[in-house]
């Protein structure tokens, strides 16, 4: 009797407690307790923008006192999945159009708000020790080179494969060259962030990454080898505001800031080509 009563009470109370728990997980973010009501926006951004967006948000918070920008950096695919499953975000910045299109089709993103904010391209990085003596792209085709690329599901992994296929089409390089490169791959990484340590530590001999990942803080640890424009791809990064955004005005301000002069300077500093400057 008691047990039955307890269980039924539990079943009734369970959803309520769950609601409270989940509200606690998503909605509430600790403030500094100053009592000033703060406005906040959440930016879901491709991991390759980690440095630039973090800096930019700092500037944004200075320019708009009382605002707090919360970040979630991950590979664009993962962010898209999170948004599809109801993650609360105001702005989504993707490393390729595919993820944005998918969210547009699902009606998650406000179509009017989507803008291309920058262009990026890929490059090859090698550790400064250069254990495999690589000086040009052709050297990647020697057997035994330990190459790291992005997994098929990630934008930078897809771009890498597009580039390799362009080399395949060029008789100067050809299929044998590209097949050897494929057989040299030792790891298919899920995000840009897990590629870099493998190069810095010298575990891998070379990796395909975004140009923008290589600049700035890594300058003394890695060497960058350019991929000629004829073989390279242009990665366009779109930004969009979520339909569910609770703070559309502030989100718009943020996107404007990103595409404005301050954003342009910062993006360039990180090796991107901003489209709006």
């Amino acid at each position: 009797m008691t047990i039955r009563r307890t269980v039924s009470t539990g079943v009734l109370v369970f959803p309520v407690i769950l609601l409270i728990l989940f509200a606690g997980c998503t909605g509430l973010v600790p403030t500094d307790g100053s009592g000033i009501s703060e406005e906040e926006i959440t930016v879901f951004s491709a991991a390759s923008l980690t440095g630039a967006i973090t800096d930019l948000s700092g500037l944004f918070e200075e320019k708009y006192p009382g605002t707090v920008v919360i970040h979630n950096f991950d590979n664009s695919n993962a962010l898209r999945t999170q948004i599809e499953h109801g993650a609360k975000a105001d702005i989504f910045i993707s490393a390729d159009m595919g993820q944005m299109t998918a969210l547009l089709e699902k009606g998650c993103i406000d179509e009017q708000s989507v803008v291309i904010i920058l262009e990026n391209a890929l490059a090859v990085i090698i550790p400064v020790e250069n254990p495999a003596s690589i000086t040009e792209i052709r050297d990647l085709g020697y057997p035994g080179v330990r190459l790291v690329i992005g997994a098929d599901g990630t934008p930078f992994g897809r771009y890498t494969r597009e580039i390799l296929e362009k080399y395949r089409d060029d008789p100067q390089y050809g299929s044998v060259f590209v097949d050897t490169i494929y057989s040299n791959i030792v790891s298919e990484e899920m995000s840009v962030g897990s590629v870099m340590p493998k190069i810095i530590l010298g575990e891998a001999d070379a990796a395909f990454l975004y140009k923008s990942d290589i600049l700035k803080r890594y300058n003394d640890q890695v060497i960058r080898i350019e991929i000629p424009e004829a073989y390279n791809v242009v990665a366009r990064y779109p930004a969009g505001i979520l339909k569910e955004s609770a703070n559309k005005n502030l989100a718009e301000e943020y996107v404007n800031f990103l595409t404005g002069p301050e954003g342009g300077i910062l993006l360039r500093e990180y090796g991107f080509d901003p489209t709006h400057v």
């Binding site: 009563r5 307890t6 539990g10 590979n75 695919n77 999945t81 330990r146 791959i185 010298g202 575990e203």
Partner: protein
């Protein structure tokens, strides 16, 4: 007194609260697991089983976890026996070091292994000179698994040896058996239930290893992409493959608990 009184009263507030907590906790564990099974139809599950990402990961995982477990048994049994039978200065320190991987975050294990066995690592630098490199190989997967899973076996084996009545060992020696014969014919058989449940726990921990593996071994299908890594990879592209691998792991894990429960009721055989 008051508490016990309250507990015995039918439908007392405390009892109701406790009931709610138990139900909540049970549901918190059960609902996600159930959701895993409900998200995929049996047909889709069977289809996914022929997907290369699933089959390769399954084979690699079972193979590496088995090799890791065997190595842990071979290297861990003497350690466990030594710790159960003898005292030496610093034994407690060594014991704590062996237990460390249980509480260490996998990312720490990963970076530590890289610093030791990476191409420019403490030991790896020398291995690299003789042409041996660990990173990105199946061997790296096994290293990571052994590192994180060996304490589970050693702890359990030590407890098993400790529970063996030493008079049997003494009797064996009195009757003329040497230390080795006594160890293999008396101590091991008597503590077998503990050894088995320890080995099974080590196997399942090795099977679930993720954090250290992805750092040291990378992610390459058929070579270093074990089941947890395949789940992580497939989540981005093929949810059914990720779900199927997860279901397989849930079933294996449940089997492990059943086996451990079965043997833990009888820590040692008693005559």
């Amino acid at each position: 007194m008051i508490w016990t009184n309250n507990l015995s009263i039918e439908g007392s507030p405390l009892k109701v609260v406790m009931g709610i907590v138990v139900v909540l906790l049970l549901m918190f564990i059960m609902v996600p697991l159930l959701a895993l099974f409900l998200r995929i139809t049996p047909g889709e599950f069977v289809d996914a089983l022929s997907n290369p990402i699933v089959t390769e990961a399954l084979t690699l995982s079972l193979m590496t976890a088995l090799v890791s477990t065997i190595i842990v048994i071979i290297a861990g049994t003497p350690v466990a026996y030594l710790h159960a039978r003898s005292h030496y200065p610093g034994k407690e320190v060594i014991d704590s070091v062996i237990d460390l991987p249980i509480v260490l975050p996998p990312a720490v294990a990963g970076i530590a292994l890289l610093m030791a066995f990476g191409r420019y690592g403490l030991i790896g630098a020398y291995l690299n000179e003789v042409g041996l490199s660990i990173a990105f190989t199946t061997l790296a997967v096994i290293f990571a698994q052994i590192f994180v899973s060996c304490p589970f076996y050693i702890r359990q084996a030590r407890a098993g040896f400790e529970a063996v009545d030493r008079s049997y060992e003494d009797a064996s020696r009195t009757l003329g058996a040497g230390p080795a014969a006594t160890f293999f014919l008396v101590s091991i058989p008597l503590s077998l239930p503990s050894l088995i449940s320890g080995a099974v726990m080590t196997f399942s921990r090795a099977l679930g290893e993720f954090g250290a593996t992805i750092m040291v071994a990378g992610n390459f299908p058929g070579r270093t992409q074990t089941m947890p890594l395949a789940i992580y990879t497939a989540m981005q592209s093929d949810l059914n493959a990720a779900l199927s691998l997860s279901i397989i792991l849930v079933v294996i894990s449940f089997g492990v608990i059943v086996i451990v429960k079965f043997f833990s009721g009888r820590g040692v055989y008693r005559c």
